[in-house]
Amino acid sequence: MDENIAEAIEAAPAAATSDAVVAETFRVKMTTRNVNVHYAEKHALRDVTLDIGEREVTALIGPSGCGKSTYLRCLNRMNDTIDICRVTGRLELDGQDIYDDSVDVVQLRASIGMVFQKPNPFPKSIFDNVAYGPRVHGLVSDRADLDRLVEQSLRKAGLFDEVKDRLGDPGTSLSGGQQQRLCIARAIAVGPEVILMDEPCSSLDPIATARIEELIDELRQNYTIVIVTHSMQQAARVSQKTAFFHLGDLIEQGETPRIFTNPRDEKTQGYITGRFG
């Protein structure tokens, strides 16, 4: 046998193994332990313990009122803004307690960005929508720096080519799908590590939805993403992990392919196959 071929054959398995090792490295980005949420007397979330893996997409699914959005909003302390809401349990980002008194909530929300159900651009230009965060957080030193960061963020959100000639137009002049990508660019601009998405496609048509899903898949290279969705097909398409909530309980969590082919819990099975649970 040719020696080169022999070497190539010898070398091949080693290369394959190292790839596999990289792929299997699972690092927890956010840890949540025994999270309980009360809205006044209502116990909205009960003892949820869930790990969010770094640089992967975790989908939260479940019927309306199951607590999935409530849980999502705990992850960047959005529930702080609701007076009657009380959150207990431990929530960590990279091992740091995010509910600790020393935590700067504004800074926290820059690290853990959020995209909402309805695109909500500021009533400002496309440029300013993205530039606002970096300016407020003092992330840029001069105008050239800011231009670069805005372009970079718009590119990452897959929007730059569509808007580069009209950065001065109002953000609200864009189509729904573009507005949503603008909101993603706005979140990206302040350098987050985690992006939370609360039904980001529910007001979009299938083409705009596909673009966002494609974007989510790209963003996963650099960001940790948690997405709440009512579309099980969407959860199946975009996520690596799926967690199913029901009436305030986390019923089941696991690898997305397993959840959708062989769920362990009857309630999960009932929900994803469209049966009365």
Binding site: Q233, A236, T261, Q269, T273
Partner: protein, 239 residues
Amino acid sequence: MASEHIVSSFDEELNELKNKVSEMGGLAEAQLVNALEAMQRRDTELATRTIEADARVDEMEREIDAFVVQLLALRQPMASDLREIIVALKISSDLERIADYATNVAKRTVTLAQSPQVRPAHAIPRMVRLALSMIYEVLDSYSDRDTQKAIAVWRRDEELDEMYISLFRELLTYMMEDARSISSCTHLLFIAKNIERVGDHATNIAESIYYLVEGRPLLQSRPKGGDEEYDRVEAPPSQ
């Protein structure tokens, strides 16, 4: 299924699919019964009718294929529904093969009927009956979602394999004793092989049923009769 879908037409479609598979199973089973009877009675007319009836089994397979594609496209099934549909597709393809083997037995029966009967032919009906009981029970376990019964079928294939091996030896010996029987014995050998293959497809179906109910493959290693046991049969010293 314990509970029903919110969209009841989906339940009706899944039931229809299940009924189609059961009906196709009944057809494949009947084909094998007729092939056996034709062979035992050396009835070329029945054999010919059996060969012709295979078209109906093929047609049912195409029907199930089309229905499965439609269900996948329109219902986007998940979890147990997905397994139900995929398993129907797999089982129908196994049933189509089983019916093909029955047809092949019928074809060889037509040829065999033209030559004198050879002795080892008597062992074949026993094999067919065993294969038939496997099909019968595996179809039953499909209807009842009974994995215990499916596993029992799966294990019984060993017996069929052993019968095949012993018939193989018998036929070889017989051919060596009487060269004029080679043609008939070769047909019998192929028939026996066909029946042995029917058993393999019955075990495939059993595995599919297990997957359907449990959501994971049946991974135990199956007891196999007659592996590596095709010993050489030496010709008797010439006199």
